[in-house]
Symmetry: C2
Subunit: 422 residues, 2 copies
């Protein structure tokens, strides 16, 4: 794994100067994959690698022989490392490729991004224990955390067709709701529209139907990570969710960031999974030495809001949450893959696993308005005096994520941005 370590070297610099700027999301140590084309073009999307403020046309480098991201994602671990190493060497300061590759760059600001791959199936998990507890308290005050929570990585199937890439604007969903004191339900626009701060784990190599993936090799099936906003209509959810779970309250749209930040890029930011004293240890199929030592990802997560008035006044999006995936998640990505397949269910290249809302233990680390406002009982007050219990028309949400630690380069996940309209 020398090649991995070399590609992380803090002293590594690129001949693309914007990649060497301090705290840039996409330094040469990152090298995430995405699909892009020039804004306004109708040509097919191409596979690119983000570097600084540019995108490298990966196919034109000759390093891959496919234009299909799902095929690239299904490479085995060694082939992925070789590809990463070759890209890193080509982009490194002093590379003999500089002359040729400099013609393969496009500025990110002039690119339209697509979903990073075809998403066959989307599963949303519920790994954020602080979120599960806070939300559970609102729906079931007598039993916030179900008895199965610390044993089963709870998850449910989501809707793949309505997943969109960052930048999406959508209409406030309509649906059936019933106020607790109303005699019967009605239909109309959602009045408790919310966001959820999540990570999206993308499957690389799949498994055959009937062939579980042991936890020891689960991460071989994981390609990379994006940010994910699981937009949620709380009033629709409260009325529809029993007994089969959330449905129309979630499937009107889900947004993800465009860049697949690979597990290789995130290797320096692994963290141990430590369960609180007294909690049960994971069952054997959810337990491994690697998982205990390094199962979690230490990613800082942030939510910002930009109201229509703020945008008119030229203000920047304002932070409402700053937290960490490490302190929020009770289950690791490897555990999700081992659990998802223990019954023989087949994952396919490009499938998306949502982490569930990653709220930290502190109040200002909550990853949804439902939590920040305690179910709509309190207001979030912005610097310009505007208040929110739930989202209003014209609101834009910006979710960002990044990794930092002494001795390692800053690795950014970019952002996922979305706007609700009337």
């Amino acid at each position: 794994m020398n090649s991995t370590n070399e590609t992380h070297d803090l002293s590594l610099r690129s001949w693309i100067e914007s990649a060497n700027v301090r705290n840039a999301d996409f330094p040469i140590q990152n090298l995430p994959f995405g699909r892009y084309r020039p804004i306004g073009a109708i040509e097919d999307f191409k596979i690119g690698v983000a570097i600084g403020d540019q995108i490298l046309d990966l196919q034109e480098t000759g390093l891959i022989d496919t234009s299909d991201m799902n095929v690239l994602m299904s490479l085995d671990a060694q082939a992925r490392l070789r590809l990463r190493s070759a890209i890193s060497q080509g982009l490194a300061h002093g590379s003999p490729e500089q002359h040729a590759w400099s013609k393969l760059l496009s500025p990110q600001c002039k690119a339209e991004m697509a979903l990073p791959c075809r998403i066959g199936d989307y599963t949303d998990f519920y790994t954020g224990i602080h979120h599960a507890t806070s939300v559970g308290r609102l729906f079931r005050p007598d039993q916030p955390l179900m008895p199965n929570y610390k044993w089963v990585p709870i998850g449910y199937h989501g809707r793949a067709s309505s997943i969109r890439v960052s930048g999406h604007t959508f209409r406030r969903p309509h649906g059936q709701t019933k106020a607790p004191d109303a005699e019967q339900p009605g239909v109309g626009p959602c009045r408790r529209l919310d966001y959820e701060l999540e990570l999206g784990y993308f499957v690389g190599r799949g498994n055959e139907l009937g062939q579980p993936v042991p936890i020891e090799v689960a991460e071989d099936h994981l390609f990379g990570v994006t940010l994910l906003n699981d937009w949620s209509a709380r009033d629709i959810q409260a009325w529809e969710y029993q007994p089969l779970g959330p449905f129309l309250s979630k499937n009107f749209v889900t947004t993800v960031s465009p860049w697949l930040v690979t597990m290789e890029a995130l290797a320096p930011f692994r963290a141990p999974l430590s369960r609180p004293e007294g909690d049960p240890q994971p069952l054997p199929y959810l337990d491994s030495e690697f998982n205990r030592k390094s199962g979690l990802l230490d990613i800082t997560l942030e939510v910002r809001i930009l109201t229509q008035r703020m945008a008119k006044d030229g203000l920047a999006p304002e932070r409402v949450t700053l937290g960490s995936a490490r302190t929020a998640a009770y289950w690791t990505a490897a555990q999700l893959i081992a659990h998802h397949t223990v019954n023989g269910c087949n994952l396919q290249s490009g499938d998306l696993l949502g982490s569930g809302t990653l709220s930290g233990p502190a109040a200002n680390e909550a990853g949804s308005l439902l939590e920040l406002t305690e179910g709509g009982k309190k207001c979030v007050t912005l610097t310009n005096g505007e208040q929110r219990t739930f989202l209003e028309d014209g609101d834009t949400l910006v979710l960002r994520g990044w990794c930092e630690r002494p001795g390692a380069a800053h690795i950014g996940l970019g952002e996922v941005r979305g706007t609700v309209m009337a």
Copy 2:
């Protein structure tokens, strides 16, 4: 719509004699679509039409210019009627096409069938009110039917990747379960494996994200119907399903019959939707005159079981359930489409909507062992003396469906067959 009526004419006969046999599943009035190739071949699957015991190679007739069933399914209603009419005329007794088309036939017994189309997303509903009540009673004796049931067509997202066509054999799934009296859960083979008798509604034309489908035109988006077996691991389900619904208890495999029986073929078998006295009327977005008068499908449904011992002894599958979709379903397919899209969720050509278990009001009309055995408390005794509470290794389930009424041809859905192995 004259062309539709002509294609249903009881006196219509085919030059393929097996199509004229009394109570054949696939007379000339049916004409379902499927994907097939010769057994053992590695060539691509082709689009065919079932007629008697044969399959007509549809592409070779020149009536379609695609080999992609999802494209065929997205034809508009008029184009679909024209296609049906042309196939009917070509297969009718005395057709000038007989000579040419007789070379385009393959026997069904020599064909391997595929899933009828690419299924992007799979949603499973819960329209069987007798099933919901019986199962609800087992899980929640105090409140069998949730307060939302008669207002909301309850549904949840299922797993698309593990849907297989009839004939599939699968291993008994493993998973996490917890006996009510156990201190903690364990992992092992499912001990309460069950089937669920459902219809599969396949989407034809899709809708754009953000554009709900009004109920008045909902059936324009429906292409046809198959049988569906929603195999269920009850012990896994009981432990995992709260609060987000069924997950691993369902997604190890779902099987469907290979022939898409079109809404046009089912036109003579429509039935009114009548709600019991005192039940609420559907909200306006779930109500239309057509839906009230003809929203339901009058399809007879049957479950048969063939144990390993029965197969060894040369016995035929034995009927355990005979019921009807009409008396089982509280919600119509049009209501499912209107509800699914009311929030703007987009359906795509080939998407699958499961009806939920279609158990009738009588005990011997129950569409699952969970109901037939009252949660495993009673046994189903077969003629050869074997008993079942849940499925045992080597059991084969055969679900069949057909339509009959005076003055109309018998229309069969064929069968979906599946076998569980150790």
